[in-house]
């Protein structure tokens, strides 16, 4: 059945026959997968399954031995350096450990991509950074140093930096690792909000089954460098493969807003803010 008024979403990533080696050792053995616009694709697999290597390919950070990777219709490893640079501006990455620069404030960390890639007015950048901190529930933390944040806060600050350029595709590497269940659930909710509000395509590598089942539209399971499964959460749960079943058998209140105070916070209007109760 076709419905011309409601066209199928397009693929934003297409991987074909991807083979990768580390030295003589083959890590990925001919991977084929598509990631569709606006979906949350979770990549799972045990240690050594090749998922971190696969993620680096999807982020256009590592060339394969053979095969092709198309991101946003661009054949990544046939691009010029300039074209590759332009493509990477459309990708956001929240690294496992946050990867914030310890010598810079949280706000400076978040504005870094804007300084690198745009010529926006300084105040515009500051407002953008504060908006992203609001999105990740870290409002007012822009002047702190990363060392003053908890593990969960660092992860959220890293997300704020990853989304400051409004990327088309957002990658998360083990977002829940090292977080308590409540903070982990908040991060899952954030990932869903970002997809729904911004229409981002989101690709998440995780070990956490509960998180994967909460956020995934589809899951890719990697096993020893091969794709074992690609499909929905329900399809995964019902899958007859013993390897998959072996893999399977192992919260946030929105605060009320003071509109004037929020606006001052975003614009950094310290003059008007003076004398205001905190």
């Amino acid at each position: 059945m076709s419905d011309t008024s409601n066209p199928q979403p397009s693929n934003v990533i297409e991987v074909r026959d991807l083979v990768t080696h580390y030295g003589p050792r083959e890590i990925l053995h001919g991977i084929n997968v598509d990631i569709v616009e606006g979906e949350i694709m979770v990549i799972m697999g045990g240690s050594g399954s090749g998922k971190s290597t696969f993620l680096r390919h999807l982020m256009a950070l590592q060339p394969p031995t053979s095969g092709t990777i198309k991101i946003l219709d661009e054949d990544v490893w046939n691009l010029s350096q300039k074209e590759l640079f332009a493509l990477r501006k459309k990708l956001g990455v929240a690294f496992q450990g946050g990867a914030l620069f310890s010598s810079m404030t949280v706000g400076e960390n978040i504005m870094l991509p804007l300084h690198e890639h745009t010529k926006l007015d300084r105040l515009t950048m500051e407002i953008m950074a504060r908006m992203k901190l609001e999105v990740v529930d870290l409002s007012g933390f822009e002047d702190l140093m990363p060392s003053e944040l908890s593990g969960g806060m660092i992860k959220r600050a890293a997300v704020a930096r990853a989304i400051v350029m409004d990327p088309r595709i957002l990658f998360f590497d083990e977002p829940s690792a090292g977080l308590d269940p409540v903070v982990s659930k908040q991060l899952d909710e954030l990932i869903l909000r970002l997809r729904d509000a911004m229409g981002m395509t989101i690709c998440v590598v995780t070990h956490e089954l509960e998180s994967a089942f909460t956020i995934a539209d589809r899951i890719t399971v990697l096993d020893q460098g091969n794709i074992l499964f690609v499909g929905s959460v329900e399809e995964l749960k019902k899958h007859p493969s013993e390897r998959i079943q072996n893999l399977l058998n192992r919260r946030s209140e929105e605060a009320e807003i003071d509109a004037d105070e929020y606006l001052r916070r975003l614009t950094g209007d310290k003059e008007e803010a003076e004398g205001m109760p905190r």
Partner: protein, 110 residues
């Protein structure tokens, strides 16, 4: 992206069409800040905006705060679904004054 300015009952109406992104938001910012020097206030008609990114929203935030500091009115009108989702993500739908139509906004600000 295009921005056209008209005047209704002493209120400046900025009609924005197209996509407001990193490359076009500086034009929106400049135009809005310029119009804030004139008339009773500024209404931004967003009915023709298919996409607005964070830099565009940041320009609206800066213009709103500038209007408040000058004692002028500032409102958004006809915010279509996609821009509204972006405003809601940062809870800015609770900050901006938003009207369903330009006429309603003009009546409120004039």
């Amino acid at each position: 992206m295009e921005i056209s300015i008209s005047e209704q009952n002493g209120v400046q109406v900025a009609s924005v069409t197209g996509e407001v992104d990193l490359s076009t938001s500086p034009q929106v910012r400049e135009a809005l800040l310029k119009e804030l020097g004139m008339g009773k206030g500024v209404i931004v008609d967003l009915s023709g905006v298919a996409y607005i990114d964070s830099s565009g929203v940041a320009s609206l935030v800066e213009a709103f705060q500038t209007a408040k500091s000058k004692g002028q009115g500032f409102a958004l009108a006809q915010v279509s679904e996609t821009p509204m989702r972006v405003l809601k993500l940062a809870r800015l739908d609770q900050v901006f004054v938003i009207y369903e139509t330009v006429d309603e906004a003009v009546n409120a600000l004039a």
